[in-house]
Every structure is written in structure tokens, then in C-alpha cells.
Amino acid sequence: MLRFIARRILETIPVLFVIVTVTFFMIRFVPGGPFTAEKAVTPEILRNLEAHYGLDQPLWKQYFNYLGSLLHGDLGPSFKYPNRTVNEIIAEKLPVSIELGTEALLVALVLGLTAGVFAAARRNSWLDYGASGLAMVGICVPTFVMGPLLVLVCAIHFGWFNASGWYTPADRVLPALTLGGYYAAYIARLTRGGMLEVLNQDYIRTARAKGASELRIIFRHALRGGLLPVVAFLGPGIADILTGSFVIETIFQIPGLGREFVTSAFNRDYTLITGTVILYAALIIALNLVVDVVQVWLNPKLRFE
């Protein structure tokens, strides 16, 4: 297993290299640059602006300069926010996204797993219909509807919370519920599906025949296999949750990283785009690796290849 992990980590290097290279050149071919503005700057000012950021050099030179500073862990200055570096922006905003993500993940796991397990255990009962129906509602109601709805009811109508912001502990509740609720719906459906597959299998029937209690069957025998699909979902899912959500952060005015993924592209903030992409790629790769390891652990029939 250690060899497997070591090999995968080594594979990450060329993968990241390709991602950086492709992203670097992709963004330069997009119409509009970092200094395209409504009030057009005069050509001589534009020239000086570009020179200030080294954008007047040949592309290949810019590329090697970027790679050079990347090797030193320097992601460069932001073009949109002159007095901040990309490293700083990520260092400031990633923790916020991680905090919100962790809270949302807790909501998602508690609600989703509970609903999924009970629905599967009482298949085709009212409990199942209720939990499954609720999960479907969660899938049907996108976050950009759920968020404003919660604000309208809980903040404006009842006045329990601030409408948006990220200042007090109470400000965490609505965004965590919105984001967590959405993932809870998926987790509930996946858990139910996974559990049903497992509960049908021979070893569960054997356990039942031996007279094991229902609770014991579910928690000792079925859960482990039934969680496989959830784990596969959570790999990239966690990467998404932790890097923040554009919609949630916009609705609730949260200073997280999720907005930067989208707005950096809109601002043509070249260095910030590449920086966030590298971060996301590293997270995705790492979590996919974790998923592969956990899956083998949950299902001994698989082996490390």
C-alpha cells in the first residue's frame, strides 16, 4: 500500500505540470485582458501597465518566469488587487472556506447518513418515503433558491440572524445549512442506494439467519459496504466543499475562496486563476487518492494496482 501511495504522489508532479502549462496558455487566448476596462486606457498607459507586470515580454519568457517563481512557492502578484499577492489571497480566504466547508460537511453527513440509513432499513415504509422525498426536494431546490429563501424567512421575517456577512458565530448557521443541506440530499440518496445493494447480499442474509439484531446488522455488517458509493462521491465532493462555493459565498457575503475561482476568471487575473487552479488540482488529486485507499479498506476484494 505504501508503494501504491508513493507512486501516486510521484505521478502528481507531471499532472500538476500539465495543468499549470495548459492553464497558463489557455487564459492568454481568452479575449480581454486584466486591464480591459469600460473607460479604455490610452495605448501608452496600457503599454506601461503591461510592462509593470512583465506582460510585455514574449509569452515563452513569461511562462518560464512563472515556472521559476512557482518552484520557489511564489504564485505572483494579483493583477486585480495590486497590493496583494496570490499567496496572500489564498492564505486569507482558504481558511474561511475550510471552516464553512467543515460545518457544511458535518450537516451533510449527519442529516444525509441518518436519513439514508433509516430509509434503507425501513425500505418502502413511510419513513423511507419521507426521507427519500425530502432528499429529492433537496436535489430539486438549488442553492441559489434555498439560500435567499432561508435569509428571507430566518433573517428578515423572524430576525434570528444577520442577512449576510461573516462576522459572528451566528453568521455561520444559514450558509452551513444551505450548503450542507444540498450535499445531505445527495448523501442520503447514495447511502440508501448503497445500503440496499448490501442488505440484499448473501452475508447479510446469513447474519439475519443467525438471528443477529437489526441494529447490529446495519451498523456492524451493512454500513461498511453500503458507504462505498458515499465515499466515492465525497472524494471530489470534499474538494469542492473545502474550496468554497461561488453561489453561497455571493449570497451570504462570505470572504471565502470559492468566489475567487469564478471572479478571477472574469477579471482575467492571470496569476490568481493559475494559483487557484493549482490549489484545486492538488486537493482533487489528494482526495481521489484518499478515496482509492479508503475504498480498498472498505472492500477487501479490491487490491492496490
Binding site: 495548459v22 489557455m26 447514495l190 445493494e197 462505498l228 458509493p229 488529486i285 476484494k301
Partner: protein, 323 residues
């Protein structure tokens, strides 16, 4: 690149199953599906909705004619579902929007399905270095910035799109209006991201059936890899594929509203369910019907799809057939 899609799905391992003959699998499944009431209900509703959306506009009101002085009005005898802020009939807008959304949901999911299943199956079956390279390519594509990708796609394919438009505009009876070229591009863009997850799932599933006796047997019989993958392995892992597809469709329909922000998708004044819901969400307090009606019909579609998907999965479950 946070997309709106669920990223990964079931990999329940279909252990000890024996492959049945191809034709009997399908006919058995059809038989079981017909007995599954929720699935039948879901299928009927979907067909009815599709008919309504594709034929309804022939005799509904116009989706674009405005009544500025009327503005947003609640449901009435003349406008069954009310009007939007420009005084356009919401019912007609939902029907026309349904064409786009259903088409996007269906076509983009099929694109994702075909590419994803083939790619994942080949990677999983061949294994080794090929598998490693193929899956790392998937990792790379996951991480590339989607917004940038879409903008580039539109810039470089603008001319071909306009040619398609010019060609299609000869066929006015299709009544898609302008911009069909962009809708085709939209399918491509969505398909291009959605297949990634599908490929990961299918690969995982293929790995888990690869070592089973019946595959070894097929190999011993001298069948080629194409036949083994598509005739023997895929039918065994249809369950997760179907469940994931039913979850992809709503994600795709909502993704469309993000892409229309980037200018890809339908041009105003045409609408889609995604854009209607998005606009409605911003006015839910003043004009709730603008959110409630498009949202309801969207939910109805998803519920039906889900019932049908569950039914299909049960019907195609190789193990269940032996009960």
C-alpha cells in the same frame, strides 16, 4: 472548478452475479419495469411533459410578446400561470423553456454517458500504464478552469456556430429561432465536463467485476475485449450508471443557467427552466409565482425521472432477477 454537479457516485459492488443472456436481460427488465408503478408513473409524466413542451407552443401564447403596462401579474384566466415583469405569458415561457431544458438534460447526459462509459470501461479493463495515463488525464481535465474553457470554446467556434445557424434557419418549422448552433455547442461543453465523473465511476465498477469468474470464462472462450466490455461487463454495472445519470440531469439543467451567464446557451428572449428559476429566485418576495411555477415543473420532472431511474435500476438488477 466548482461545478454544480455531484462529483462521484455509487460503486456498490455487484458480487456473485451471473450474466444472463442479452436478450432475456432486456425483455425481463422491461417486464419488471412495467410492473413497477412509480416507474410507470414517472415514465408517463415525463412523456406527457415532453409532449406538452414540444407540441404545446403550437397553440399556446407567444413567449416573447410583451405587455409592458401589465408587467408582472399573478395567474388569471388569460394568463394561467401569470406573467413576468415584462408582461409575457409565463406558461408559454415555461413550455418553450422546457424544450431547451429537456433537450439539454437529455442530450448532454447522453453525450456524457457515451464518452464516460466507453472511456472508463477501457481504462478499467486495460489497467496498468494505460489506465494510469487515462485517469491522470481525467484528473487534469477536472482541474482546468471551466469558465475559461467555455469562453474559449465560444470564441473559437463562433464561425462554425453561425454557419450551423444559417443552415438551420432554412428550416423554420423547427421554430428554435436563432442560436441553435450555440445550443449544440452547449451540449458539447456540458458533455465535456460531465463525462469525467461518469468515467471514474465506470472504471471503479469495471475493476470490481473484472476479476469475476464469468469474465474469466468469457476471456477463456477467446472473446475480444470489445465484446467482453460491452456485452458482458457493462450490463452488470448498469445500476450505478443509471442512478448517476438521473442525478446528472438536474445538475446539467442548472449548469445551463450558469453557461447562459457566459453567453452560451439560449439567447434572450428565449428562456430555459434554469434561467427562469434563477430569475424567479431574485424576485421570490415580490412575485412568488415567477419562482413557484418553473420550480414546480422542474421538480416534477426530477421526481419522475427519479422514479423511472429507480425502477430501471431495480429492473436491471441482475441479482434481483433471480429472486
Amino acid at each position: 472548478m466548482p461545478t454544480l454537479s455531484p462529483k462521484d457516485l455509487p460503486s456498490a459492488d455487484l458480487a456473485a452475479g451471473q450474466l444472463e443472456q442479452g436478450h432475456s436481460l432486456w425483455s425481463d427488465a422491461w417486464h419488471r419495469l412495467r410492473k413497477n408503478k412509480p416507474a410507470v408513473f414517472g415514465g408517463v409524466v415525463l412523456i406527457a411533459l415532453a409532449l406538452l413542451c414540444f407540441l404545446g407552443p403550437l397553440f399556446s401564447q407567444s413567449y416573447e410578446i410583451q405587455n409592458l403596462d401589465l408587467g408582472a401579474a399573478p395567474p388569471s384566466a388569460q394568463h394561467w400561470l401569470g406573467t413576468d415583469t415584462l408582461g409575457r405569458d409565463l406558461f408559454a415561457r415555461i413550455l418553450f423553456g422546457g424544450r431547451i431544458s429537456l433537450l439539454v438534460g437529455l442530450v448532454a447526459s447522453v453525450v456524457a454517458l457515451i464518452i464516460g462509459v466507453t472511456y472508463g470501461a477501457v481504462a478499467g479493463y486495460l489497467g496498468g500504464k494505460v489506465d494510469t495515463v487515462m485517469m491522470r488525464i481525467v484528473d487534469i481535465m477536472y482541474a482546468l478552469p471551466f469558465t475559461i474553457f467555455v469562453i474559449l470554446l465560444m470564441v473559437f467556434l463562433k464561425d462554425p456556430m453561425q454557419k450551423v445557424d444559417a443552415w438551420l434557419s432554412q428550416y423554420r418549422w423547427l421554430s428554435f429561432g436563432q442560436g441553435m448552433g450555440k445550443i449544440l455547442l452547449l451540449f458539447a461543453a456540458i458533455g465535456a465536463v460531465e463525462w469525467l465523473t461518469m468515467a471514474r465511476i465506470v472504471r471503479g465498477q469495471i475493476l470490481s467485476v473484472k476479476k469475476m469468474e464469468f469474465i474469466e470464462a468469457a476471456r477463456a472462450l477467446g472473446y475480444g475485449p470489445g465484446r467482453i466490455i460491452f456485452r458482458h461487463m457493462i450490463p452488470n454495472i448498469l445500476g450505478p450508471i443509471i442512478v448517476y445519470t438521473t442525478l446528472t440531469i438536474p445538475a446539467v439543467m442548472l449548469l445551463e443557467s450558469f453557461l447562459s451567464f457566459l453567453g452560451l446557451g439560449v439567447d434572450a428572449p428565449m428562456s430555459s427552466w434554469g434561467t427562469l428559476i434563477k430569475d424567479g429566485a431574485e424576485k421570490m418576495e415580490e412575485f412568488p409565482w415567477l419562482l413557484v411555477f418553473p420550480g414546480s415543473i422542474f421538480s416534477l420532472t426530477l421526481f419522475s425521472l427519479n422514479f423511472l431511474g429507480d425502477g430501471l435500476r431495480d429492473a436491471l438488477d441482475v441479482r434481483a432477477s433471480k429472486d
